[in-house]
């Protein structure tokens, strides 16, 4: 809006309903995060750090700068649908579900794969808003977020989010997502399928990294050429998985 690229007819301030929508809580086997929860709240949340060590904290610590983190929200991050968003990668890796509410309080729950439908486009309808994101809890959880940027506070050149749950020496659930290497946050499903049911190992994570490299579809831009981003997606995916596993087994 400042650069006169966007010229909306109306701007609705949703800050007044923050008291209702700023929360991080556990309900049953789920963590629920309200759409107006600020980045700083997620960064500092003990519940998130305990339940999903330490993927939120790692992503939030490198997301923008304190000024942006004090104001930016979960809802804004997801609904902006910027393919370079760190938090969107985390939500995809954790298999978060978006709760949308429309006229008369009608609610629907949307999986992340259906939520981000393109760059800067979401499944949120014109009379709907995102109110909450829900995350399934898994025992034996370990997560990590890896990001390479040109400078602290900059959007990612490439980022990778990894979420594993490991029990009895076997990977039970796996989530892998890469940011800034495609039209939306890239959900690397092939890697997830390859991981589940196997024992964690560096070779396995390397394979998963190769799949991330192969399955993403980066563009060349000021942050770097496509071949570079593709290579780095692999490197970061492998590193994130390997640290996620170490955390899960801690």
């Amino acid at each position: 809006m400042k650069l006169r690229l966007a010229n909306p007819g109306h701007v609705i301030d949703i800050n007044p309903i923050e008291p209702e929508l700023n929360y991080i809580r556990q309900e049953g086997n789920e963590i629920r995060i309200g759409a107006l929860t600020r980045h700083v709240n997620m960064l500092e949340s003990d519940l998130l750090a305990r339940t999903f060590p330490d993927i939120f904290r790692e992503a939030e610590a490198v997301l923008a700068d304190p000024v942006v983190r004090n104001r930016g929200t979960m809802g804004g991050s997801l609904c902006q649908s910027d393919p370079a968003e760190d938090l969107s990668g985390v939500v995809v890796a954790l298999k978060g579900k978006a709760v949308l509410r429309g006229p008369g309080g009608a609610e629907r729950v949307v999986e992340m794969d259906e939520f981000h439908i393109g760059p800067y486009m979401t499944a949120v309808g014109p009379t709907e808003m995102l109110i909450e994101v829900r995350f399934p809890i898994h025992p034996g959880f370990g997560g990590a977020h890896e990001k390479v940027e040109r400078r602290a506070g900059d959007f990612a050149i490439v980022a990778a989010s990894a979420a594993l749950s490991i029990q009895g020496g076997t990977i039970q659930t796996a989530g892998v997502a890469c940011s800034a290497v495609g039209p939306t946050t890239m959900h690397i499903k092939r890697a997830e399928e390859a991981l589940v049911g196997k024992a964690p190992s560096e070779e396995l994570f390397q394979q998963a990294g190769q799949m991330a490299s192969a399955d993403c579809s980066p563009n060349s831009d000021g942050r770097g050429p496509a071949d570079y981003k593709r290579a780095v997606a692999g490197v970061l995916t492998q590193r994130a998985l390997s640290r996620a596993a170490a955390t899960a087994l801690r």
């Binding site: 400078r151 602290a152 050149i157 000021g222 981003k229």
Partner: protein
């Protein structure tokens, strides 16, 4: 409750504090040189500085500039009627209107001409095309969108290598007789035949093509002006943060044909300059013309994108370089440079030096031969070539020579420090005349280099590097040893547009013994209000707290050429020392009367004259000041009052130097450079205020990190500027600096010809650090992968490409 009456743009608190002692009074100020907090910081850190955009005059209008969407296009027509019909628009100015005032084109500081508003053609992306004046800033922006310009797009030249192709489109068809894109005749320095002979006899030759990419000084406060032409009196007041107010006044008088005595320039606080606020920009001329046309004050403040895309860039030197050695020592250097000036040549330099001081390129070494030549070309890019924290192209020169020494060390297979140690000018060789004609005043390079190695534990670092290499990790150690020539300059050699590069000072000691010193230099954050008070304090023994430093108002300060090229202390500082000594000499006359003795029988100690052999009998400067204004029986020939004027003409430049070592870790998987340590040993002669010196070094090192790792103004093939916001033009933050701080060291080699032995320092860190960091990154890649070169900026994708053998020079 009574409201506080405030002046234009002033914060009410300013008045509350200004009358008390809270401002600028430092509890433990030394009487003279030494550590002291900056007097000006009290207002800056409270947010109470008084900047350009704080100026609000009654009836003031607001200007905005329409800019070209194309890098090169013919203008067929400009339709301003819809904009003029906007209810809040007072005037719209285009080139045609300026022609009637004789202001359509303006001279640059390099004797070229620059379009104020494009009339015939636009020659760079975002060039100024029209100026709208409205009753508020938002309306002015709205009205820009109502102007309709019909363009015929022409092919653009953005690559300086292609500017001289025979089929390249002619950019400056406005210049009579111009048939190609050469901006100025080939310029050279050094004895070519001798240099060729040295190369013919060499053992080893290293060759590199080195680009010092286009960057931007990026002051925190952008450029702008409030022009206030009083139609009744013909007085033109100009509020404008610039680095050379007196020179600007003269230029406005010449350009606009206005009487110089009717022009007053007022610089309030300036939020950084770094060379960006040396030139006169089209927006300034538009604001002045706007005020004349509208008969009201006009404010024009550019936004960040305008600052980045249209005002003075820096560097953009492409240097084909060779360095050679014989008997294990560096013997020769030759450089063939293409300078990319953009569409108009407005490079900043002393006028007789079209490539600035680039020929100081032989650096700190005792060479047998050197030759450099510079070819300057026009391209469809923004004009500039300003000296970004740099004494006229010294940054480019130091970058080149220090990259080349490392390149030669690689080819010779010797340690880069060892090669420098063997080849330095020895301390007993000063004053030393270089192959390109500079006379270095003083130095002890070996001592500074050894100190830096000691602080760094150089041997230890090399060992660590080997251990890491064995583990597949990449670490690099980069050296840079710089010599700068700063403080332009002696009037027999140096002028800008015919104005000798001297500075004036005026010192008034009031009856109470407190003083005001007025400068022609113009602070932009360098701490002049403290440093110059300390010079007077050192010379007269008055507390710096009791000395007001005045600058930035051409009606109240003496003439001089301003602050850039690290010249404030070398030139203005000289003037202040000299004027203080004049006052001291005058005080001696009064003291002789007071003590009923002859002036020759008095001796000086800081703050008082006393009778030789009877030190109890003396007069303090305070009592002398009172006497000077009150004595009723002065002898013939002695005027009352205690004040003086001086103009200082420096006999030579001053030559600060330093030894810098950068330590980086490079991520082999991502190419990300981690700036682990930075060691900086600086020798700037006598340090007036070590704290201010260290502050300058910290700031300059951070800027060097930015240039080495992330900053570049680049263009696409159509000539669109790709870095016109802080999203795309990255500035370093504290997080890119070494986490344990900078490691500083000092040696002191006083300048033999400066009144207080000081050399400039403001720019040293920004000059010395880019090559140190680039050398460190290349060192890491060389040891791990055999890679011998990469151009800045070393951001991850470019480092990754270089380490995988596919580096491309940046566009």
């Amino acid at each position: 409750m009574a409201t506080v009456e405030t002046g234009p743009g002033r914060h009410p608190e300013w008045y509350a504090h200004a009358t008390g002692d809270k401002f600028g009074k430092i509890a433990d100020a030394p009487i003279g040189f030494g550590h002291m907090k900056r007097k000006e910081d009290a207002r800056f850190i409270r947010g109470l500085g008084d900047y350009m955009d704080d100026v609000r005059l009654p009836g003031m209008l607001h200007g905005a500039i329409l800019r070209s969407p194309y890098a090169h296009a013919r203008i067929n027509s400009i339709d301003t009627s819809a904009a003029l019909a906007h209810p809040k628009v007072a005037a719209v100015i285009i080139a045609k209107d300026l022609e009637t005032l004789g202001l359509a084109w303006m001279p640059t500081i390099s004797y070229d001409t620059q379009a104020v508003l494009a009339g015939d053609k636009v020659r760079f992306h975002l060039q100024e095309v029209a100026f709208v004046i409205a009753t508020d800033a938002y309306a002015a922006q709205d009205a820009l969108q109502l102007i309709d310009v019909d363009y015929d797009v022409l092919p653009a030249i953005v690559n300086c290598r292609k500017a001289l192709d025979p089929d390249a489109p002619l950019i400056r068809d406005d210049k009579v007789g111009q048939t190609d894109n050469l901006a100025s005749p080939l310029w050279e320095a050094g004895d070519k035949a001798n240099c060729d002979r040295v190369f013919a006899e060499a053992d080893v030759v290293a060759k590199r093509t080195i680009l010092d990419p286009r960057s931007h000084p990026c002051p925190m406060e952008t450029c702008g002006m409030v022009a206030d032409m009083n139609p009744a009196t013909g007085q033109l007041n100009i509020y404008n943060g610039n680095q050379a107010p007196h020179a600007h006044r003269t230029v406005y008088a010449q350009v606009a044909g206005l009487p110089e005595q009717n022009i007053r320039i007022l610089c309030n606080d300036i939020g950084g300059g770094f060379g960006n606020k040396v030139p006169v920009y089209p927006g300034y001329v538009c604001a002045i013309a706007g005020s004349i046309v509208a008969g009201a004050p006009v404010k024009w403040i550019e936004d960040r994108s305008e600052n980045l895309a249209s005002t003075g860039f820096a560097r953009d030197y492409l240097m084909y370089s060779e360095m050679c050695s014989k008997g294990g020592k560096i013997t020769g250097l030759r450089v063939d440079t293409i300078a990319d000036h953009g569409a108009f040549d407005s490079t900043a330099q002393a006028t007789k030096f079209p490539a600035g001081f680039f020929h100081i390129v032989t650096g700190s070494y005792d060479l047998q031969g050197a030759h450099c030549q510079v070819k300057a070309v026009y391209t469809n890019k923004a004009p500039g070539g300003v000296a970004y924290r740099c004494s006229f192209r010294i940054t480019e020169a130091v970058y080149l020579v220090e990259r080349m020494v490392d390149a030669l060390a690689m080819e010779m297979n010797v340690d880069p420090v060892e090669l420098r140690m063997r080849s330095f000018i020895r301390s007993d060789q000063f004053p030393y005349e270089t192959q390109t004609g500079w006379v270095y005043d003083s130095g002890d390079y070996h001592k500074a280099m050894k100190l830096a190695m000691e602080i760094a534990d150089y041997e230890g670092l090399r060992k660590e590097q080997q251990e890491k290499l064995a583990r597949g990790e990449m670490m690099g150690i980069g050296i840079a040893f710089f010599t700068e020539g700063v403080g332009a300059g002696p009037r027999r050699h140096m002028d800008i547009l015919g104005l000798a590069m001297n500075d004036g000072a005026e010192l008034r000691v009031h009856p109470s013994g407190k003083a005001v010193v007025s400068l022609s230099a113009q602070t932009q954050g360098q701490g002049h209000e403290t440093t110059f008070a300390q010079i007077v304090a050192e010379e007269l023994g008055i507390s710096p707290n009791e000395i007001m430093v005045r600058h930035g108002d051409t009606d109240k300060t003496p003439y001089g050429l301003g602050t850039y090229g690290s010249r404030s202390t070398p030139v203005s500082g000289g003037a202040v020392a000299v004027v203080s000594r004049k006052v001291r000499d005058k005080a001696r006359q009064f003291a002789a009367l007071m003590l009923e003795t002859r002036a020759e029988d008095l001796a000086w100690e800081k703050g008082r004259w006393y009778v030789k052999g009877d030190p109890e009998r003396g007069s303090t400067i305070e009592s002398i000041a009172e006497y000077a204004y009150s004595a009723s029986n002065l002898p013939e020939g002695l005027e009352g009052g205690l004040d003086a004027n001086a103009v200082y003409d420096p006999p030579n430049l001053t030559y600060p130097f330093g030894a810098y070592i950068a330590v980086v870790d490079v991520d082999p998987g991502t190419g990300k450079v981690h700036m682990r340590r930075f060691i900086a040993v600086d020798d700037c002669g006598v340090r007036i205020n070590p704290m201010v010196v260290e502050g300058q070094i910290h700031g300059g090192l951070v800027e060097g990190i930015g240039q080495a790792l992330m900053e570049i103004i680049s263009f696409d093939e159509q000539g669109n500027c790709l870095n016109a916001s802080f999203m795309d033009y990255l500035l370093p933050t504290a997080l890119e600096c070494p986490e344990h701080g900078f490691e500083l060291g000092e040696t002191v080699t006083p300048c033999p010809h400066h009144p207080i032995g000081a050399k400039g320092v403001g720019e040293s860190p920004c000059v010395g650090s880019p090559p140190a960091i680039a050398n460190a990154v290349v060192d890491a890649m060389y040891h791990a992968k055999g890679v011998k070169h990469m151009d800045m900026p070393c951001f991850p994708a470019r480092v990754w490409a270089a380490m995988n053998g596919r580096e491309q020079p940046p566009q």
